[in-house]
């Protein structure tokens, strides 16, 4: 399973849900190089989830565009796959069937499907549960199935919308490390939205902070830490403190009338 990373270019992205509602975010510009794990953090309502849904092609921008290696994202595609806050598995299917469901939407041979499903299940360490019904799994295991279901598509970009927020601390920590490891091993990009500063530091190569109403990217911070990352490590804690300070500074951010972007 070889996955390529991709360059993501967000150009002048503006979104409003309808003409009666305010602008969610205004003229957002961002570039993410191939293989980067990018964290988007910010308070509720700043538009970070909306931005992620546009990146997934689920929502359409009001203005601007998103390019993946030059291809504009206008609709959902197996090339850019989103993993949601809850696993939303199909309860009438087994683990294997859930993992392979995306492949069943395409033209994959039975052998190739089986091979890719087996590998994806192995990546998330659920080999012993392949034939189990997903309703028999714990919350963490179900989220692993959702991860495998995304990985089996071999996406160039994996989008994660607070995917571990409903899990217990131990499972969350383990999955954060697993997702980063898998992404680095396979080389695909990750863009993830989180409220959790720890999650941004453990999983990300860079964090961008969204704030304001309408929202925009007001700060960004490189997370230049070696792997594997341990949350008790001094360097991790120092970066966490820095990111927290930047986040709090961003919370007080007031967007100037004419400003379009602050980086």
């Amino acid at each position: 399973m070889a996955i390529r990373g991709t360059e993501i270019k967000i150009q002048g992205l503006t979104h409003r849900y309808s003409s009666r509602t305010g602008v969610t975010f205004n003229r957002v510009d961002l570039v993410s190089p191939p293989g980067e794990a990018l964290a988007i953090i910010g308070r509720s309502g700043c538009g970070k989830s909306t931005l992620l849904h546009i990146l997934a092609g689920i929502l359409k921008p009001t203005e601007g565009k998103v390019l993946l290696n030059g291809t504009a994202i206008t609709a959902p595609s197996p090339r850019w796959v989103m993993m949601f806050q809850a696993p939303h598995l199909f309860p009438w299917m087994t683990v294997s069937q859930n993992v392979g469901v995306g492949l069943s939407f395409g033209r994959w041979s039975k052998e190739e499907t089986e091979e890719r499903v087996t590998e994806a299940i192995k990546l998330v360490e659920l080999q012993d549960f392949a034939t189990a019904n997903v309703q028999d799994l714990s919350g963490g295991q179900q989220q692993r199935v959702a991860l495998a279901r995304s990985l089996v598509m071999e996406p160039e970009l994996l989008l994660l919308d607070e995917p571990f927020s409903a899990l217990d601390a131990f499972t969350r920590s383990s999955l954060q490390k697993d997702v980063r490891n898998i992404a680095k091993r396979k080389g695909f990009n990750i863009v993830f939205v989180t409220h959790d500063i720890d999650e941004a530091v453990i999983m990300g190569d860079r964090a961008v902070i969204m704030a304001g109403s309408p929202g925009n990217i007001v700060h960004e911070l490189d997370i230049d830490l070696p792997d594997p990352r341990d949350r008790h490590d001094t360097a991790v804690q120092a970066l966490r403190t820095r990111l927290m300070a930047t986040f709090q500074e961003a919370a007080n951010y007031k967007k100037p009338e004419s400003a379009t972007l602050a980086a």
Binding site: P78, V81, W92
Partner: protein
């Protein structure tokens, strides 16, 4: 050691299940026995009352004696084949019409609002009251009966499908689209498996209604089927044949219902349901 524990647990579980199966079979046999006893007592009173003595063949034993006779003459098989064809065709029509319309009702709000009142209005009309119209419109008796069964059976299928779809988690559609599903994939891989339980429950209700409509519909015009066999037995005063056919209706109806219950259990993904 673990294996031993597991085996013991499995053994216990099997014993419990067997115990439960035997217990429910016992209760069912007991219920049937009470019904048979009541019938026997009724038969006894009919036989010993001079005013009802002519109806003695309605009793349990004359009825049981009629079964081999009717079976040997092929009357039960012929009646079942004719009624089965009408019931199957009517139900199939109800499913073919009811499921797609139910899906549209569950999926598209304006369609649901648009169709709800006229459908509720037509649903409230007794299926048998369509009979004169059906006789005029359809060239054959079979066509009329199939129409009556279909119009009686379509509503439970349609409304159960719509209700099933209304319960479907909208996030499943989002996930499917996110993984590249086209509308046909969403229909076949998400909607249909998600609502199979509800559709089958609707078909089960429809079967009950269709079975009720079938017999009176066959009283008119046709020269085959269970309804006709009952009417024929009444006219020839073969009361034990009449009750044997009534019992056949009960047995076949119960058997068909049991098949649907088994299918519902097989395709239900709801836990604890």
């Amino acid at each position: 050691m673990n294996y031993a524990v597991t085996s013991a647990e499995e053994g216990g579980f099997c014993r419990l299940m067997k115990h439960r199966a035997v217990q429910s079979l016992g209760w069912a046999a007991g219920g049937i026995a009470i019904l048979a006893i009541l019938w026997l007592i009724g038969g006894y009173f009919i036989a010993n009352n001079p005013t009802t003595k002519t109806f003695v063949k309605f009793g349990l034993f004359p009825t049981l004696e009629a079964f081999p006779e009717l079976w040997g003459a092929g009357k039960i098989q012929n009646a079942l084949a004719a009624s089965g064809f009408r019931l199957g065709s009517g139900l199939l029509l109800a499913i073919v019409i009811g499921v797609p319309i139910g899906i549209l009702m569950g999926r598209i709000k304006w369609f649901r609002d648009f169709t709800n009142s006229p459908f509720q209005f037509v649903r409230m009309i007794s299926p048998l009251s369509w009979m004169p119209l059906a006789v005029l419109v359809f060239a054959t008796w079979n066509g009329s009966i199939i129409f009556l069964i279909a119009i009686a059976a379509v509503w439970p299928v349609m409304f159960a499908t719509a209700a099933g779809l209304a319960k479907v988690d909208p996030n499943w559609f989002k996930v499917a689209r996110n993984l590249g599903a086209k509308p046909l994939h969403i229909l076949t891989k998400v909607i249909m498996p998600a609502i199979t339980f509800d559709v089958l429950s609707g078909i089960r209700l429809a079967l009950g209604v269709a079975w009720i409509v079938l017999v009176p519909a066959e009283y008119l015009g046709v020269t085959s089927g269970l309804g006709y066999a009952i009417e024929d037995a009444r006219e020839t005063l073969s009361y034990n044949h009449l009750t044997a056919m009534v019992v056949t209706i009960g047995i076949v109806g119960y058997f068909l219902d049991s098949i649907l219950v088994a299918l519902i259990k097989r395709y239900s993904w709801h836990r604890g349901g």
